[in-house]
């Protein structure tokens, strides 16, 4: 029988000072990445035109760019994809002087520039997209409201199923994950597309899932070990769920690796964001959700989840192991 971390007894919560240090550094990194590099939004959110071209021969990117500029498109972005001859052209600004909400003028201008730089018939347009600014701003609002609403809904569900303290801790952990993931997206220069927003939301679900598994154990252990200190119960719960965490994260990371390698350009950003999400989700379940729960418990001591009276557990935590807020 292969068992990973069976009967593990690591002092996770005891090591939280170091974890806070790690969190602080990661937060700072995310902030720097966000300010320094900015988020790179896809045309779905900024509006603009995207053309995916497969050319029979290599194209001089500078020539293509100047052809686009001549057609009245300022600052086009050109990236190479796949094997030779594959290009992604992004024109975020509408063709000068055209109605930006009418996407056709810009698309036609990109076509004209391709004819000029590559030559008509020497390329195939594999796919294209064009989004007007009105649609783009609508989508931005919708994505934001989806994230916020799902946040509230989950908080509500956890409040019903557990207790508001657990919900607060879980949401704090999720907020931590979202901030770090956005920092990761900025740092990796990943394009924020609908698929990536989908990945962030899935990551939120996955990370919550992980937190809930531990909280479920905490809830159970609160009944089981009524005399134990709250911190010990959390530590015990994390250790008891450790084998499951390692295995599930292992299988998830395996499928994500497979998706990132074989899934193609559209799926790769999704896989990368989720991949990062698995790590930050695991980290936050232990080092954000746990400590926040302890902190909330000390700040507002009361009946624990499922009506277990706090008794002596919370009253006087030993000073030696309680540098809360360090």
């Amino acid at each position: 029988m292969i068992r990973f971390f069976a009967d593990a007894n690591y002092d996770f919560i005891g090591a939280r000072k170091y974890a806070y240090g790690v969190t602080a550094v990661l937060f700072a990194l995310s902030l720097v990445a966000l300010i320094g590099l900015r988020l790179n939004y896809s045309i779905e959110f900024t509006g603009g035109t995207l053309v995916r071209v497969k050319s029979t021969q290599e194209v001089d990117v500078a020539r293509l760019r100047s052809a686009l500029e001549t057609q009245g498109i300022t600052g086009p972005e050109i990236t190479t994809i796949g094997s030779s001859g594959g290009y992604l052209i992004r024109a975020r600004t509408a063709k000068a002087g055209s109605d930006a909400d009418n996407t056709q003028v810009t698309a036609a201008a990109v076509g004209a520039a391709l004819d000029q730089a590559v030559g008509p018939g020497k390329y195939v347009i594999e796919g294209s997209g064009a989004v007007g600014p009105k649609v783009a701003s609508e989508l931005k609002g919708k994505a934001l409201s989806a994230i916020l609403l799902s946040f509230l809904a989950v908080l509500g569900y956890l409040a019903i199923r557990f207790e508001w303290r657990f919900g607060l801790a879980a949401v704090a952990a999720t907020a931590h994950d979202i901030i770090l993931t956005i920092g990761f997206i900025a740092l990796m220069r990943l394009e924020v597309s609908l698929v990536v927003v989908g990945a962030v939301l899935s990551m939120v679900g996955y990370s919550l899932n992980d937190t809930i598994i531990i909280f479920d154990r905490v809830r159970e252990n609160l009944h089981k070990y009524k005399r134990d200190h709250f911190i010990d119960i959390i530590n015990r719960s994390i250790n008891e769920t450790l084998p499951r965490s390692v295995l599930t994260h292992g299988t998830t990371l395996t499928t994500l690796t497979s998706l990132a390698i074989f899934g193609g350009e559209v799926i790769r950003p999704f896989a990368l964001v989720m991949f990062f999400g698995v790590f930050t989700g695991t980290f936050s379940s232990i080092y954000i959700a746990g400590p926040v729960l302890i902190w909330v418990e000390q700040k507002w001591p009361g009946a624990d989840a499922r009506g277990v009276k706090p008794g002596a557990r919370v009253a006087a935590p030993p000073a030696t192991r309680e540098p809360v807020g360090a």
């Binding site: 029988m1 292969i2 068992r3 990973f4 995916r52 109605d99 009418n102 996407t103 056709q104 698309a107 195939v124 594999e126 796919g127 294209s128 997209g129 064009a130 989004v131 007007g132 649609v135 994505a143 799902s150 989950v154 569900y157 199923r161 609908l194 698929v195 927003v197 989908g198 939301l201 899935s202 939120v204 679900g205 996955y206 919550l208 899932n209 992980d210 809930i212 598994i213 154990r217 159970e220 769920t241 084998p243 499951r244 295995l247 599930t248 299988t251 998830t252 990371l253 395996t254 499928t255 994500l256 497979s258 998706l259 390698i261 074989f262 899934g263 193609g264 559209v266 799926i267 999704f270």
Partner: protein, 557 residues
């Protein structure tokens, strides 16, 4: 679980398996497919009934809104509904399998066409207003008479003639050589007389409008030949409010749909037309594409309703000898022909220089009716069929490789119990796909990724249960009791964690467009299917296992 006996459990699993397999079984369906001759026919094809998104099978997604820059809509809500009806008729005749045409929000129409091979043509059909009018060209030289005043108005505004406006002066010989003898005598004499009254030599507008007459091309009254490059300038000058006020009353002007080439130089014809049409496309009951037997040019013959026929008959009878312009979407089609006699119900639009395909598209849009207000494309996505196929094969490869690793991990760690979990995983894949087919949900590229990802996550429930069983065994409980306790204790965690994931998926569904909606649906179905298989199917396997070896002392887990 509610179902306790092994037999009833197997019956239930068998039923679900059969239902999924039946839902996925390749079936023969009737599909309207365009034959080699371009006619739609019901064709029988065999396929797995899984609906693929545009990103996987290739196709086009269009978001359309009213374009009020040219024509203001009096009642946008009504017009968008009207446009929706027209769009349905058009796409129906265009012939696309399972098109999606629906209203999104208050002011947008979404059109999704799967597997089309000519996106530009489809876009043309969707966007064409198909607003048809028959109007009489002006024979009174009303614009010529107004030109001097217009030029003076422009001079007051400080607008000067652009250099070279009247440079292309042809010779009289050229004019003679190119004289069009098949048509009635052009009003050259009246035209010349009108020019004589022009006091402003080289006026801003007249210099551009008269460039053609000096190019030596025979023009009839009400016709102006303008150099291609000057078209936008003429347009903007004529639309200046000071100039507009001087435009002959009861008339306005329209440009020709196609350029006219004179001496290898491209010109555009401008026509001054009576404002009131004799009849419009709203009185049209039928339109068919055809070939003119004599000239073998494509034509569109049309038929008018009773009121249209009466108006058309009276209008043409009154205007025998005049020229009639066929105006489609504010562009004059061909050079207006002379009205030789009264025309009633039937007429013909000649489309010289156009393909038969274009005649067919015009007939189609005319039949479906005109859009109340032109539409503009505010959102467009196009995926080529080859890119779609490429995405499918990549997604499947990623799925197979990922699943193989998961299988290896599960069997490597949980041995026999792992084999059971992997078998349950096979059911999971079958149930998920079956549910997708039964619900008629669309499989998109992100959805495919969600399916692959959920294989990794699906084993989570089994991992939770197995770890729990191991814990119970470690406490010294019997095999049978450990299994019972393991399943029971893991349930809370499984339910809570899955409910939150489904909740986020639902929000994703609510905000997302096509591909992301597909992802949310696949994820939700995957989670539900994984709960069924991990809890119910695996449990049944364990029960069978215990049944076969009742005296089992150690568990291969």
């Amino acid at each position: 679980m509610i179902v306790t006996s092994l037999k009833s459990r197997f019956i239930l699993i068998g039923a679900m398996t059969l239902a999924s397999a039946a839902a996925l079984f390749p079936r023969t369906i009737t599909e309207r497919i365009k034959g080699a001759d371009g006619v739609m026919r019901d064709t029988l094809i065999k396929q797995v009934p899984l609906k693929l998104g545009l990103d996987l099978q290739g196709g086009m997604h269009l978001g359309l809104e009213l374009d009020q820059s040219k024509r203001i809509s009096a009642d946008p809500a009504k017009d968008i509904d009207l446009a929706l009806t027209v769009m349905r008729k058009r796409i129906d005749e265009f012939g696309v399998t399972e098109p999606l045409i629906q209203k999104q929000g208050e002011d947008r129409i979404v059109v999704e066409l799967a597997g089309i091979d000519d996106p530009a043509r489809a876009k043309g059909i969707v966007q064409r207003s198909a607003f048809l009018e028959f109007r009489i060209t002006d024979r009174t030289n009303a614009l010529d008479k107004a030109l001097p005043a217009m030029d003076r108005a422009l001079a007051r505004l400080g607008v000067k003639a652009s250099a070279g406006g009247a440079a292309a002066a042809g010779t009289a010989v050229e004019a003679l050589l190119q004289g069009d003898t098949t048509r009635k005598t052009p009003g050259d004499t009246t035209k010349a007389a009108a020019q004589d009254t022009t006091p402003v030599i080289g006026g801003a507008l007249s210099s551009m409008l008269q460039a053609g007459s000096t190019a030596g091309y025979p023009l009839y009254p009400g016709e102006y030949l303008v150099e291609d490059g000057a078209v936008t300038r003429v347009d903007s000058l004529l639309n200046l409010s000071d100039v507009k006020a001087l435009f002959p009353r009861k008339f306005d002007y329209r440009w020709a749909a196609t350029p006219t080439v004179v001496n290898a130089k491209s010109y555009r014809m401008m026509y001054v037309l009576e404002q009131k049409p004799i009849v419009t496309g709203s009185n049209l009951v039928d339109a068919r594409e055809d070939i003119n037997q004599l000239t073998s040019a494509p034509v569109v013959s049309f038929e008018l309703d009773r009121k249209g026929a009466r108006d058309f008959g009276e209008g043409t009878a009154r205007n025998v000898g005049n020229y009639m312009a066929i105006v489609l979407d504010d562009r004059v089609q061909g050079r207006p022909p002379v009205i030789e006699e009264r025309i009633d119900r039937r007429g013909q639009i000649t489309m010289s220089g156009k393909s038969f395909q274009e005649a067919r598209d015009l007939a189609l849009t005319l039949r479906a009716g005109a859009l109340p207000v032109p539409l503009k494309i505010v959102e467009e996505f196009q995926v080529g069929a080859s890119l779609g196929r490429d995405s499918i094969s990549k997604g499947i490869l990623a799925g197979v490789v990922g699943t193989l690793f998961v299988v290896a991990i599960m069997i490597g760690i949980y041995r026999m119990a792992g084999v059971l979990a992997v078998t349950a995983l096979a059911f999971y894949v079958l149930f998920s796909l079956g549910a997708l087919a039964m619900l008629g949900a669309t499989l998109t590229l992100p959805g495919l990724a969600g399916l692959v990802l959920s294989v990794g996550i699906a084993v989570d429930a089994n991992v939770l249960i197995f770890e729990r069983i191991r814990e119970e065994l470690a406490l010294g409980k019997t095999v049978r009791l450990s299994i019972d306790e393991g399943f029971r204790h893991a349930m809370n965690a499984i339910i809570d964690s899955n409910v939150t994931t489904v909740m986020t998926a639902l929000f994703l569904f609510q905000f997302g467009t096509g591909p992301i909606k597909g992802f949310a649906v696949t994820l939700t179905i995957g989670i539900i299917a994984s709960m069924v298989t991990a809890v119910f199917v695996t449990r049944t396997f364990f029960m069978l296992w215990l049944d076969k070896q009742p005296s089992m002392q150690t568990l291969s887990i």
